[in-house]
Symmetry: none
Subunit: 206 residues, 4 copies
């Protein structure tokens, strides 16, 4: 519930927006380094170099902060991928671009994904998990589904259930990412990327 003193829709100053971004950034770092469970407001504030009450000043509560963290993580990644995909012409190339962009972004933002994996576990109830799914996974799957359907319409791709194939592709990407987050040295990221692009190319083409 929002305080009655500070109504929902008030405009934020430039300074405040900057602080919020800074805090979100440091929250991600802290979560990635120490784990969500250890990422208390005190620790995060320590990372920023401010008093922990400053966080409470800028965010309605820890929930809002974490929510912003999730948004930031998803937004950044999705924008990057969308950019690569848009630059490709054929459906095949767009699918390849989607996978390659996913891995390219991963490689440059390991911290983000370490945080993400930690956050995955924080949606305890079935309800919360489903809500997160709607925010995080559905957009990705829909994006992929669009690419796949277009490819089927143009005759580039064979017949398959787009929804399932999309889930499979996203799953493969995330599953590899997961292992890589747990131990970067155990996974050869470029090789996995290459393997998956080749495989899904083979698996989808007509």
């Amino acid at each position: 519930m929002r305080s009655k003193v500070e109504p929902e829709g008030r405009k934020r100053t430039f300074t405040e927006e900057a602080r919020r971004r800074q805090i979100v950034e440091c929250a991600i770092t802290t979560i990635a380094k120490e784990g969500l469970a250890q990422a208390s407001l005190a620790r995060i504030a320590g990372e920023v170099g401010i008093a922990k009450s400053v966080i409470s000043y800028h965010f309605a509560g820890k929930d809002e902060l974490i929510s912003e963290v999730i948004n930031a993580l998803l937004r950044e990644s999705n924008q990057f991928i969308k950019g690569w995909v848009e630059r490709a012409d054929t459906a095949q190339d767009r699918l390849r671009a989607y996978i390659e962009a996913s891995f390219a972004f991963m490689a440059e933002h390991r911290e983000n994904f370490a945080a993400m994996v930690d956050i995955w576990g924080s949606f305890g109830t079935v309800e919360a998990k489903r809500a997160f799914n709607a925010t995080a996974y559905d957009p990705c799957r829909r994006h992929l589904e669009g690419i796949l359907k277009a490819g089927q319409d143009s005759g580039e791709f064979r017949a398959f259930t787009p929804r399932t194939m999309a889930a499979t592709i996203q799953g493969a990407i995330d599953g590899v990412m997961l292992q890589w987050v747990f131990d970067a040295q155990a996974i050869d990221l470029p090789e996995c990327a290459a393997e998956l692009t080749a495989m899904f190319d083979l698996a989808t083409r007509s």
Copy 2:
């Protein structure tokens, strides 16, 4: 930290073993239902129907309990998969068995995986993550690697880096599982399983 009074290797009585198993079982249920964050010793003890100090009595601490939970989750799943794989003759069939068994077990033990996903996020530090990787992922990848190498030796499989292919296969399985844990209705598990078996069959055969 282990107590100095009770040396590491001390044998546990039958009763003790039973209690530990019971507690671990209920811990899994609690984590799956409410999320790791809500799974306090009090809640778990409540689920078992005992005082929370009983847990402290049987386990060195919460860390040991969670550690046992992880072991239990991995052991069950791995044994099941190993069973299916062993019943297959050719490398191709063993690979297919591995994937199919993974999905079959999933479908029957959603609770286990819900708990697992929650626990993933509890390995805050890089160190803890690596340790979990060694326990959880490496055995799976090694198992797969063995299947793949044997297939290459027998000429059934084409040339590829077994380690990477293993990571990719396991990743695809886990990634789909993850989405399914977040929202069972969003994922058609059997279709995903079929898609993946077909795909990896295609991707590995020579």
Copy 3:
């Protein structure tokens, strides 16, 4: 909301009951001495000589503690007054007993009333105030009303609205008490008591 772990109706051990009483007692002392606003759990715990988490262990929260404090304050006072009233035979004597008992109890339990006055102000919302009224005032007024009606029925008392007269009597008692709580030396309690008994005797008799 009650925790799911400790269901509402569980029985309390003798020891726990004793601790609760002790804590309530010290809470009253602390509130009387320092004011409700300063009566933090820490301060109260300090007064008892225990860690503040002990209070949280025995009470669901500060609200429950304060609620128990109120109950204790009202119960003690009401029982005492009821005892005196019951020992009187005529309506006139019972009314006199009610007033005299009120002042007698006051004189011996200044702390209780100091706490009570502080608590009066803690029911911020209209809703909370009304709820407190139902618990605290209504029983007193009803008790008085009963005495007055009986006196009217027996012909001892003249005609008046019993409800209003009850409110007036209780008001006079509480109003004097209030001034006495604020400064004991400013009020001559026995004289006020005598004045009020005489006055209400005169005001009610037929």
Copy 4:
């Protein structure tokens, strides 16, 4: 604590005075509506429509603000009562005027008394309570005492201790008011007023 830079008696500009009055007014409203405990500077500032630091600017601290609130509440009420009393000629009429004015003012300013009751509880220490007594109650009792003594001197009133009778009268008024603040519907204010005027008339006349 007063700043050393701004000496006590410094004159305030007209604008400053206006702001202070406005803030005090809104503070009363806020306290009456939400309770003193919820009346943070932020909430009060919200009610006024200014930043909370403005309050800090115009008042030495929250204590000074509350102190001004009390003064405002008492001043208004006392002036009103004094006005009515002055218009009466005999001691009996003045006493009746005092009581009737008290109830008349009450009826029109419920908010003020709701705030007052809340504030009563904020004088935690014995010291603070006595100080409040000196400001709030003593003037009222002295006023009443004056009326009573004059009546005794003129032979209108019988012999009694004026101080005690004054405390009793004021007590009766405040006690009824208290119940009415807790639940307006539980109390018939005009009837109580009539009852009290009649009663004290009877109780004082010679």
